[in-house]
C-alpha cells in the first residue's frame, strides 16, 4: 500500500518537477528503470504468493539496477553497448512477462 502510494508520489514528483537527467546517467537510466520494474513486478508476485520479504525486495531492487547499469556500462566500454542493453531489456522483459503471468494467475485464476 505504502509502496504503491510512494510509487505514485514518485511519478507525480517526476512529472511535476521535470528533473534534468545528469548526462552521465542518461544511457543507464532507462535500463535501470526496466530493471527496477522487474524487481517491482517480482515483489508484487511474491506478495500475492504470500512470500514477500522487504529485505529481499530491497536487495533485489538495488542489485537489479546496479547489475543492469553495470552490464550496459561494460557494453559501452566494449563497444557493444547497444546490443547488450537490448539483451538486458529482453531478459528483463521476459522476466516481467513471467511475473505478470503469475500475478495474472493469482488475480484472475486463469
Amino acid at each position: 500500500m505504502i509502496a504503491a502510494i510512494a510509487l505514485i508520489a514518485g511519478i507525480a514528483a517526476g512529472l511535476l518537477l521535470e528533473p534534468t537527467i545528469p548526462t552521465g546517467l542518461q544511457p543507464y537510466l532507462p535500463i535501470a528503470v526496466v530493471a527496477a520494474l522487474d524487481a517491482v513486478f517480482g515483489a508484487v508476485r511474491a506478495r500475492l504468493d504470500g512470500i514477500f520479504d522487504d529485505k529481499v525486495f530491497v536487495v533485489s531492487f538495488v542489485s537489479n539496477v546496479l547489475v543492469a547499469g553495470l552490464i550496459v556500462y561494460l557494453g559501452d566500454k566494449l563497444g557493444v553497448g547497444g546490443q547488450l542493453s537490448t539483451g538486458v531489456v529482453v531478459v528483463l522483459g521476459v522476466r516481467i512477462f513471467g511475473n505478470v503471468a503469475a500475478i495474472r494467475r493469482h488475480v484472475f485464476r486463469a
Binding site: 520494474l37 504468493d49 504470500g50
Partner: protein
C-alpha cells in the same frame, strides 16, 4: 564466538527457502538468522564475560546479540514473514530471545535459569521463553504466525514511526516483569504477552523496511517519470542514445542530406527548363500574334493605319469610269508597295481591297466585291507615299490612262491614312495547311 551463533542461526538458514522477488531462489541467510550476527559479534565477548558462570551460556550469547541491536532482536521475528517459521523458530528464538532488558538484570543474576527465562519472555516480546516453559514447540510458531498476521496491517496503517510504538512496548515489558515472578503464572499469560511484544517488533521492522521499500518505489516512480519526460522532449531523444547510435544516425542524416541536395538540384534544373520553355512559348505567342496581325492586314481582317496616299477619281459626265481602270490602278498601287487598300464611293460603305477582290461594271457605278459604289471614288492606300505617287504618274501609267478617259485623278500624299473597312475572313473549304 561464532560457533554458538552459527549453530543457532544456522538452523533457520538452512531451512529458509523462500521466493526471491522475481523468481524462486534459495535465500541465503534469511534475515532473521543472518542479521543478528554482526551485531552480536560486537557484544558477544561482553555477554560471554558476564555469563560464564551460569549454565545457559548459549542463551547468554544470544541474549547479548539480541541486546546489541533492537533491530537485530526484531529481525528474528521476521522469519515468520517468509513462511519459514515452523521449522526455524524454536531454535532461533532461543538464541535471540532476550532483549536489552534481559542483559542487565538477568545476566547479572544469572542463577535461576528458569527465572531468567520467565523474566526474559515478556521483556523480549518474542515469547520464545514462554514457549520453553510451556514446552510447546508447536505453540510457538503458531503464535508467531498470528502475531504477524495481526501486526502486519497495523504496522502499515501506522506508517513509519518506531518511536511512537516504543513506549507501548516498554509498558508491555513492565507489565510483563511482574508476572515473571513465577514461571507458572507466566505460562497462561504468555499467550498474550509475547504477541504484544512481537507486534511491536514486527511493527518496527515493517515500518522501517516498508519505508525503505516505499523509498525505492518512489525513486523508481521518479526515475520513470523523469525518463518519460526526457523521452518526450524532442531534442532529448538523442541525448539518451549512445555514441555508436549517434554516429549511425549522423551517417543516415548525411546520406539523406546528399539525396535531398541532388533532388534539389534536379528540381532546380527542371524549373529552369520549364521557365525557359515558358519564355520560348511566350516568344512564340508574341511571334504568332505579330504574324497574325500582319496576315490580318494582308487579308483585310483588321483595320490599319500608316503613311500613304488618298487617290480621288472623278469621272466625266456621261462617260463613266470602267472597272478596268480601277483594276489597273489597284495593280499599280500594289506594284508600288501598297500594303493595305480600300476603296470608297459617294454612296455605300468603303470596301477593303484584298487578293480576292473583284471589280465589275454595274449600273450607277462599279461593283466591288458585290458592293456597288458610285463615283467619285476614293482609293486609300498605305505605303510609301512618294513611291506610290511616282508609280501612279509613270508615263502611260494610271494617271495618264485615266486622263485619256477625260476623268480627273488627284493624288494626296498623307502622313497618316486610316483604313477602316475590314473583310470577314472566310474559312477555306478545301485548302488545308500542310504540317
Amino acid at each position: 564466538m561464532s560457533d554458538p551463533r552459527n549453530r543457532l542461526a544456522g538452523a533457520p538458514q538452512e531451512g529458509a527457502q523462500t521466493w526471491d522477488d522475481g523468481e524462486v531462489t534459495q535465500r541465503f541467510g534469511d534475515p532473521g538468522g543472518s542479521a543478528p550476527d554482526p551485531a552480536a559479534a560486537d557484544d558477544e565477548p561482553t555477554a560471554v564475560l558476564r555469563a560464564p558462570g551460569p549454565v545457559p551460556s548459549p542463551r547468554a550469547h544470544t541474549a547479548g546479540g539480541g541486546a546489541a541491536d533492537e533491530e537485530t532482536t526484531v529481525l528474528p521475528a521476521q522469519d515468520p514473514d517468509d513462511g519459514e517459521p515452523t521449522a526455524v523458530l524454536p531454535s532461533a528464538r532461543e538464541a535471540v530471545t532476550p532483549p536489552p532488558e534481559v542483559e542487565t538484570p538477568a545476566s547479572k543474576q544469572a542463577h535461576p535459569a528458569v527465572e531468567e527465562k520467565a523474566a526474559a519472555d515478556p521483556v523480549a516480546g518474542n515469547g520464545e521463553p514462554a514457549d520453553v516453559p510451556a514446552g510447546a514447540g508447536a505453540a510457538g510458531p503458531e503464535r508467531a504466525a498470528e502475531a504477524e498476521g495481526v501486526a502486519g496491517p497495523e504496522a502499515e496503517s501506522e506508517g513509519a514511526d518506531p518511536e511512537g510504538e516504543a513506549p507501548a512496548g516498554e509498558a508491555a515489558d513492565g507489565e510483563a516483569g511482574t508476572p515473571a515472578v513465577s514461571a507458572d503464572l507466566a505460562e497462561p499469560i504468555a499467550g498474550k504477552r509475547p504477541r504484544r511484544g512481537k507486534r511491536r517488533a514486527v511493527r518496527e521492522r515493517l515500518t522501517r523496511r516498508s519505508a525503505v521499500v516505499a523509498l525505492l518505489c518512489a525513486i523508481l516512480g521518479f526515475a520513470l517519470a523523469a525518463q518519460l519526460r526526457a523521452n518526450d522532449a524532442g531534442d532529448a531523444k538523442f541525448a539518451n542514445l549512445r555514441q555508436s547510435d549517434l554516429v549511425q544516425i549522423l551517417d543516415e542524416l548525411d546520406s539523406r542530406e546528399k539525396r535531398l541536395r541532388s533532388e534539389i538540384s534536379d528540381l532546380e534544373f527542371r524549373r529552369q527548363n520549364l521557365t525557359s520553355a515558358n519564355q520560348g512559348s511566350e516568344n512564340a505567342v508574341a511571334d504568332a500574334e505579330k504574324r497574325a496581325a500582319e496576315l490580318g492586314i494582308l487579308a483585310g481582317t483588321v483595320t490599319a493605319e500608316g503613311p500613304g496616299v488618298v487617290i480621288t477619281l472623278k469621272e466625266k459626265k456621261d462617260k463613266p469610269l470602267l472597272a478596268d481602270r480601277l483594276v489597273d490602278a489597284v495593280q499599280e498601287l500594289r506594284g508600288a508597295g501598297a500594303e493595305a487598300l480600300q476603296i470608297g464611293g459617294s454612296t455605300g460603305d468603303p470596301v477593303r481591297i484584298v487578293a480576292s477582290t473583284y471589280f465589275t461594271d454595274a449600273a450607277g457605278g462599279i461593283s466591288v466585291d458585290g458592293h456597288v459604289l458610285a463615283a467619285p471614288y476614293s482609293v486609300t492606300a498605305i505605303g510609301d507615299p512618294q513611291t506610290i505617287d511616282r508609280a501612279m504618274r509613270i508615263p502611260g501609267g494610271v494617271v495618264a490612262t485615266i486622263r485619256q478617259d477625260e476623268a480627273q485623278i488627284q493624288i494626296d500624299q498623307r502622313r497618316t491614312v486610316q483604313i477602316t473597312a475590314i473583310r470577314a475572313p472566310r474559312a477555306p473549304r478545301f485548302a488545308k495547311p500542310v504540317k
